[in-house]
């Protein structure tokens, strides 16, 4: 490489390196501030003080969903399989809101440790499956667990 090219190569390289370092430091400084939500474990660790608004994220604990009144008063437990937070919400849930699936909710903690949600969003995972396959898998699972139960009953 001749002298001019080498110099230009260095200029381009330092522009790139400079922006990587700048942005990298910026992101390290922001750290957890860029998280879209706070997990139940982080709440249990006392990351949130007072009653200001934030977003909680986790899984809807299986069997925890309760509908009250005309069905728009909703109670469920958000879990990260370590800590549980009870959530109360009044309104329409997104279609993909399911037990055992991801969820985020905007709101605040009340004095009794219940999360009062204003908005609830469903979080989708990266798994895709056809309805037929899912039905077949559920049937197989049922058969397997049913069989195990009968095996237990007749030793």
């Amino acid at each position: 490489m001749n002298q001019v090219r080498k110099q230009k190569f260095l200029i381009v390289g330092s522009i790139l390196a400079g922006s990587i370092v700048t942005v990298g430091l910026l992101l390290v400084a922001f750290d957890k501030g860029l998280n879209a939500f706070i997990t139940p474990t982080e709440i249990a660790e006392g990351k949130v003080n007072g009653s200001h608004n934030f977003r909680i994220g986790g899984m809807v604990k299986k069997g925890s969903l309760v509908r009250k009144g005309t069905g728009t008063q909703i109670e469920f437990i958000a879990t990260d399989f370590n800590e549980d937070i009870p959530v109360v919400y009044t309104g329409v849930l997104p279609d993909l809101f399911r037990e055992g699936q991801g969820v985020t909710a905007d709101g605040h903690m009340d004095a009794s440790g219940v999360f009062q949600a204003d908005t609830v969003l469903a979080k989708h995972d990266e798994n895709y499956m056809s309805k037929e396959v899912k039905a077949a898998m559920d049937a197989a699972e049922k058969k397997k667990t049913g069989k195990l139960a009968t095996e237990g009953a007749h030793p």
Binding site: V23, L34, N35, P94, E132
Partner: protein, 249 residues
């Protein structure tokens, strides 16, 4: 091979070498697009949770990735132009920015249309979505900066610097879903058993994916050819070409 690449760096050779290639690329891309869209939208099975709305992802995933790929290409061309002063690299950098911006916009629009039925909202300020919106602004910034100068040389220099600085955003977009809690899911891994993304759902995505890549390069090549003719309009070979074309008409 090197000689072939070297020749592509010359506007005239680029023009002559792509002439025969354009109809082929058009045909193959359109074929892949039609097969992928008909298969994905008409015949792939509905998802067990999202039902039919997941079909938006057949367009969303390739166009979103295309937008990021386009910015990487833009930055590479900008660096090549700055270091080696290759004319052709500057032409490609100039013409690929609007195409990339279009893909990025399409990725944002389709993503938001998918987000409403899936998440329950069109938009949320989280790391993946926000960093991807910044990608659109970077594209628009590169285009605006180039257009803001009267001289083509100064404009291309300024735009090149922004492209090289801005490319830092691309890995941030990609890793955002791993580094932070985001509402956006991580990409499906194609495991050996294919459980996360089974073949009957995944294969149409391969077709739309390659179609979107093909159409991107088609747009870049066609726009590059126009730009070459404009920039070399005073060259003898363009004059000859013009006379020949006019004689045919």
């Amino acid at each position: 091979m090197w000689q072939w690449l070297y020749k592509l760096g010359s506007p005239r050779h680029f023009y002559e070498m792509t002439t025969g290639f354009v109809p082929w690329l058009t045909g193959v891309s359109l074929f892949l697009l039609i097969v992928g869209v008909v298969w994905g939208l008409g015949f792939a099975p509905p998802d067990y949770q999202m039902g039919d709305s997941y079909r938006i992802l057949y367009i969303h995933v390739p166009t979103s990735m295309g937008g990021m790929g386009a910015f990487v290409l833009l930055a590479m061309m900008a660096a090549m132009h700055m270091i080696w002063n290759i004319k052709m690299a500057d032409i490609v950098a100039k013409v690929c920015a609007p195409v990339g911006a279009g893909y990025t916009a399409l990725g944002l629009i389709t993503g938001s249309l998918w987000g409403k039925p899936t998440w329950g909202t069109y938009w949320i300020w989280e790391a993946r979505l926000t960093s991807y919106l910044i990608l659109l602004f970077l594209f628009l910034g590169v285009m605006a900066l180039r257009a803001a100068y009267d001289s083509e040389r100064s404009g291309s220099k300024a735009a090149s610097v922004l492209a090289i600085v801005g490319v830092v955003n691309v890995p941030i977009i990609y890793y955002s879903v791993y580094w932070w809690n985001t509402l956006h899911q991580v990409p499906s891994e194609l495991g050996r058993d294919g459980s996360a993304n089974p073949p009957e759902i995944f294969i149409p995505a391969l077709f739309t994916g390659f179609a979107v890549i093909g159409l991107f390069f088609l747009a870049v090549i066609l726009r590059s050819r126009n730009e070459i003719l404009y920039r070399e309009r005073r060259a003898q070979w363009v004059q000859d070409l013009l006379e020949k074309e006019l004689a045919d008409v």
